[in-house]
Symmetry: C2
Subunit: 314 residues, 2 copies
């Protein structure tokens, strides 16, 4: 790691500009629904342990997806659960997929949604953003550029992640208003002043974030804001003027890119549009026998163009 | 796994009665603060990879802790973050620690605090409570008896975990009112009717839980209720009459067992007192050179007696 790593918000802005894309490809591989023809040959295929075989297949699938969509995306968002369920080999597969993403020039936003008390929050940050000191030497983590984090335990559960990641130029992206129907159960509860819980989470994100110091850049604390409820986006942007928004829910869940205008106010990198199934499974909606890679590439490029057309917020 | 696994609440009640303990020992091993003298010999010590060495040392430490306190506790609560940060070898160490706990007759309550949208919540449950179907055969998960879960994403993020775990006799324990100072930031926010968010989470726990069918047993959806704010416990028990409470915060964080009376209303298994540092680090507060195992055993036994003295709620 370089001596003075660049600020996460600065890196994100530069990467979006260089790749001309705000698209984040989500990887949530199901061993029962991988792309046909990616099953690895060689030693991996010969293994009898279902866990090792499934992990090898998942890794090959994810590499193929990244190779297909890389030109149209700026980052990858691996879903930790899908690797975690394959144990140690799953962890190794995730490491390999993250390394491959970096080789392709992509940022890694690990979707882990962790949240815990202070000392444990720091341990999670060590796992994903930095390294764990041990008497035997430092154990490097996954090397993600940012992780998603849950705010339910409050500010003192988020600060340690930031304290751990910030010196390495890493960020966190806090769940504020998610895209699932159940999000309303707690996140939309209003306080006596009529302010929903998501607005309180948003204020927390704004307070914790810091930019690179020039006052004009993006913060290193982002927010997950579901694209399924665009009517909230303007209020969310007002509460978090500098935060990069990670916007799930476009496509399969019904969100529309055209409704995401308020998100780009601080520049294009402020509006990261994430899509998983709508890219990876694009061939399933195409003609029978369609090439998954070609279908994914076309879907990613179409999404890239739509998002880019939102402009740079000026 | 047996064809018709027993209900989680029933198993928990029986285990507490058989072991005459409500104490849950938390394991959050820091490679830089392990018990002296537990470093493994043999091949593990000869490894040059810091990750493998640290994982082997963590595993040896956890085994030693379990061996020391097993007679006084009913369950172990491994902290996922502390194993996750050691990668694949960390996962293997956690598997071994969980297997050792089972051999000692303990339940495993994995402290993972996961929470995500439906399909991902199911993947987490597969990782920890059940198994993942793959074309190469089922990949078994960690085999935990229950996992902790975050409610921030709402009901539809918890139901899939329960759907996945319940047929295997496994449960979930939802974060309701945690023990850290920051818990107040969001969990204590009051809705217009004056009801705090934690009460809404508690209602969700009560609604999702089901008992074994006889109407008198504990539910398979528990609640994390910090022991640091005993003034909430009566209200929490009123809202969740059948839920097993996992009560962190006794000892180092200032909570007192004597204040936990309302938690045992549905029986002793309704009040699981969890302690980590106050047991594992008990030798640090004792005379210099004290044996960590003896100090931990004594601390666990003292806590067991205190908690048992709360009675069975009748």
């Amino acid at each position: 790691m370089p001596a003075a790593p660049e600020h996460f918000g600065t890196r994100l802005t530069a990467r979006v500009a260089a790749r001309e894309s705000q698209v984040v490809v989500g990887l949530d591989p199901d061993p029962a629904r991988l792309w046909p023809g990616v099953e690895p040959a060689g030693p991996a295929a010969a293994q009898r342990d279902p866990r090792a075989r499934a992990a090898a297949a998942v890794e090959a699938h994810c590499r193929a997806v990244l190779d297909a969509v890389a030109d149209a995306v700026v980052a990858v968002k691996p879903q930790a659960a899908c690797f975690e369920r394959l144990g140690g080999p799953g962890h190794d597969a995730l490491e390999a997929v993250c390394a491959h993403a970096r080789d392709l020039g992509l940022l890694v936003l690990a979707d882990v949604k962790r949240g815990d008390i202070g000392v444990t929050a720091r341990a999670y940050a060590q796992a994903w953003l930095s390294a764990t000191p041990t008497p035997h030497g430092d154990v490097p983590g996954l090397g993600a550029d940012a992780i998603t984090a849950s705010p339910y335990l409050g500010e003192d559960s988020l600060v340690p992640m930031l304290d751990e990641g910030r010196p390495h130029g890493r960020g966190i992206v806090v769940l504020v208003r998610t895209s699932n129907p159940g999000a309303a159960d707690l996140q939309d509860v209003q306080d006596p002043g009529g302010e929903p819980l998501w607005a309180l989470a948003a204020r927390l994100v704004d307070r914790l974030g810091s930019d690179a110091g020039d006052g004009g850049g993006l913060s290193d604390v982002g927010a997950v804001c579901g694209a399924t409820r665009p009517e909230h986006l303007e209020a969310l942007r007002g509460l978090m003027p500098r935060a990069p928004f990670l916007l799930p829910g476009v496509g399969a869940q019904g969100g529309r890119v055209a409704d995401l205008g308020p998100a780009v106010a601080p520049g294009r990198a402020g509006a990261l549009v994430t899509a998983s199934r709508s890219l990876v499974d694009a061939h399933r909606d195409a003609a029978p026998g369609s090439d998954p890679a070609a279908a994914a590439r076309a879907a990613a490029e179409a999404l890239r163009e739509q998002a880019w057309a939102l402009g740079d917020g000026r």
